[in-house]
Symmetry: C2
C-alpha cells in the first residue's frame, strides 16, 4: 500500500487527469513542477510561484547537500520551512548532477564519490545516503538514486547501467523510511532499447514504489526518439500510480508526453529562459532583447492573465533586459511559469472534457502562428 | 500660488509633520523616497515598494533620457504607466550624474555637453532641456538643473558655482509648464559657506518655487558639517514649503536632518545595501555574509513586520547571499526599504506627539546596542 494517494479522475486516450495527495497538499495532474535548485525558484518569491498555479516544486539534492547542507536544512525544520514553501516538494536523488561532474567523480557499485564544485570537499553519494539527505530535507516525493545512462549508449552499456540502477533502486527502497503523505519514486532506465525499458519497469514494480519516473530522456536523443521510448515504456508501468518524466521540457514535449500517459514534469526552461530575456507565449517564443519590442505597448501575450501581462508592456520588459535590471528576470520568470501552468490547466481541462485531440491541434497551430523572434 | 498643496500639521522644534499633495496622491512628511534609477526600484516590484509604506519614488533623468529615452516614456503614457507605479514620482534634473562624468562632459553657461556612457552619443543638457525631459517623464516633482558644487571648494569657487545655479534656476522656472498637482523645486547651493547658502535661499525665493531642496551635501563633508550647513540654511527657507535634502542618507543622517527642519529624502543606500547582503536593523547594520548567521533561525529584526522578517530566517538569507540568488537581493532590499519607512513613520509619530527628543535618544541608543557585524 502506498503512502501517496493517487486518484485518476478521467482518461482521454493514454492521457490521465488525476490528483496526487501529499502531507503538504494535493497536486492536480498532469502537473508541471518549477525547479528550486538551491532552495529558491530563481528570481521568484514563493508566493509568486504559487500565484502562477504551481502546486509542487522540485529541489536539487546535489546543491542542497553541499550548501546549506542537509543537516542545516533539517535544523531549520526542513526545506518547506527553510524556503517558505508550504506546499509539496519533490527532490531528485542528486545522482544526475553528480554524474555530470565528469573528471570530479568516481562511480562504483557502492555509489559515486565526487568533489564539491563549491569547496572541493569529497562526498560519497550512495543510495542509502541519498535517502537520508532527502529525509532531512523533508521531501514529500523522494527519488531513488539511479545511474542516468548517457546518450548515445550501446545496448550492452545501457543494460549494465540499468541493472545497476535496479540494484540501487532496491537499496533506496530498503533505506527509505515510509510515512503517510511521503513517497518514493523508482526510475525506469534502459536507454532507447524497448526490451530494457520493459525489463526495468518490471524490476521496479517487483520492488514496489509510490510512483514511477522515466529517466535518461531529454539528454540529446530528440523529441521523436523520446516519444517513441515513452510509447514503449508507459504501457508497462502500473496504471494506478503517477508517472514522472524527469527534466522535460519544451511545451511541445509536455503535450506529447501527456498524450503518452505522463503525469508529472519538471524543467528549468521557464525560469532559465526568464533570466535570459526569453518569453514563452501561445504564439511561440519571444526574444525580448529584439529591438522590435522597444515601442510595443502590448503585453507579452494578450491572452495571458499573469501578473506581468496585467501590468507591463513588451517595451518596458525590453528596457529592463537592456538595463540588466533584476525586475526583468522576475517578470519574465513569472510569466513563463504562468505560461507553463496555463498549459497544464489546458491539458487537464481537455482531458476532463475528452477534448485532448482538439486541444493538441490548436496548440500546434498556435505555436506555428508566427509571433516568434529569431533567437 | 503653488500647484502642490503642503499642509504642516504639527511641529516639534524645527521638525515638521506635513502632507504634500500631488496629482498622483499624498505624501506624508518627513518622507523617504526609494530610488528607481532606470524605471525600477532595483530588485523590487512596485507593489512591494508600496507595501513598505513608500508613497513617492525618485527617477533619474540622466538614466531615463539615455535609455529608454524621454520621448519613448512619453509615448508609453509617462513614467508612472511605463513602470507600473501609480503614485507620485520626483525626478532629478540629470545634472548631478552628468557632472560626475568627469572627462566625458563640458560645462558652459548654456549647460552641459556630455557623452552617453551607453553608446557614446552626444547630448546637451540645459535647464530648458531638463524641464522638457522631466515633463515628458510626467514627473510630479521636477528639479531645476543646477551645478552641484564639489567638495572641497573655496568660497570664491562656491560663489561662482552657486550664482550659475541661480541663473539656471531662473531659466528652469521660465521653461517649466505649471499644472495642478505638479511642482518645481529649486535647489540651494553655496557649499559650506553660510552667507552663500543664505544668498542662494533668498535668490530662489525671489524666483518662487513649490519646494526647496538643499543640494551639494553628502559629497564627502561628513555628518557634522552637513548638519551645520543645514542649521545655517533651513531657517532661511520659507516655512510653508517642503524642504528636500538630496541624496541623504544613513539613518542617523535622516534623524538629524529631520530635527533641522528637512521634510524629504532620497538615497540608494537601502536598495544598494540589499544587493550587497547588508541589512539595516534597529540594532545596527548586519553583514549577512558573516558566517555567524548561517544557523540563525531568527528574522533579520525580531521587531520588524516586513515581508522578509515575517517569513525568512537570517540563516536562509545568509544562504541566498552565498549562492548569489536573486531572491536574496529582493528580500534584503524589501527589508531595508521597510526599515527606512519604519524610521520615517517613527519620526512622524514622534513629531505628532511632541516626543522627538525621546525618539532620537532611543534611536541613538539602539543603533549602538550591538547586533552589528564587522563589515
Amino acid at each position: 500500500m502506498s503512502h501517496l494517494t493517487f486518484d485518476i479522475i478521467k482518461t482521454d486516450g493514454q492521457a490521465r487527469l488525476g490528483t496526487l495527495m501529499t502531507a503538504h497538499g494535493a497536486i492536480d495532474t498532469p502537473a508541471f513542477m518549477p525547479v528550486g535548485t538551491a532552495g529558491t525558484v530563481k528570481a521568484m518569491t514563493p508566493e509568486a510561484v504559487a500565484e502562477t498555479g504551481a502546486q509542487i516544486i522540485l529541489g536539487n539534492t546535489y546543491h542542497l547537500m553541499l550548501r546549506p547542507g542537509a543537516d542545516r536544512v533539517e535544523r531549520f525544520g526542513g526545506l518547506h520551512k527553510f524556503m517558505n514553501w508550504p506546499g509539496p516538494i519533490l527532490t531528485d536523488s542528486g545522482g544526475f548532477q553528480v554524474m555530470s561532474l565528469k573528471g570530479l567523480r568516481k562511480m562504483s557499485e557502492d555509489g559515486v564519490i565526487f568533489k564539491s564544485h563549491i569547496d572541493g570537499s569529497s562526498h560519497n553519494l550512495t543510495p542509502e545516503y541519498s535517502m537520508q539527505i532527502q529525509h532531512k530535507l523533508d521531501s514529500n516525493i523522494t527519488m531513488v538514486l539511479d545511474e542516468c545512462t548517457g546518450y548515445p549508449a550501446t545496448e550492452k552499456e545501457a543494460e549494465s547501467s540499468m541493472q545497476r540502477s535496479m540494484r540501487w533502486a532496491q537499496r533506496s527502497k530498503d533505506a527509505f523510511v515510509a510515512r503517510p503523505g511521503y513517497g518514493l519514486f523508482g526510475i525506469v532506465q534502459g536507454g532507447i532499447y524497448p526490451a530494457l525499458r520493459q525489463q526495468s519497469a518490471a524490476s521496479l514494480q517487483a520492488i514496489g514504489f509510490d510512483g514511477y519516473a522515466v529517466g535518461g530522456l531529454a539528454v540529446g536523443e530528440g523529441q521523436e526518439v523520446m516519444f517513441r521510448v515513452l510509447e514503449q515504456t508507459t504501457p508497462h508501468l502500473p496504471a494506478k500510480r503517477p508517472r514522472y518524466l524527469m527534466g522535460v521540457g519544451k511545451p511541445s514535449d509536455i503535450v506529447g508526453a501527456v498524450r503518452r500517459g505522463v503525469d508529472m514534469f519538471d524543467c528549468v526552461l521557464p525560469t532559465r529562459s526568464g533570466r535570459t530575456d526569453q518569453a514563452f507565449t501561445r504564439m511561440g517564443q519571444l526574444n525580448m532583447r529584439n529591438a522590435r519590442h522597444k515601442d510595443d505597448t502590448r503585453p507579452l501575450d494578450p491572452t495571458c492573465s499573469c501578473y506581468t501581462c496585467r501590468h507591463y508592456s513588451r517595451g518596458y520588459i525590453h528596457h529592463l533586459g537592456l538595463a540588466k535590471e533584476i525586475l526583468g528576470a522576475t517578470l519574465l520568470s513569472w510569466h513563463n511559469l504562468h505560461y507553463y501552468q496555463d498549459l497544464m490547466r489546458g491539458l487537464r481541462d481537455a482531458i476532463a472534457t475528452g477534448a485532448l485531440d482538439a486541444f493538441t491541434a490548436i496548440f500546434a497551430a498556435e505555436q506555428n502562428a508566427g509571433d516568434i523572434d529569431p533567437i
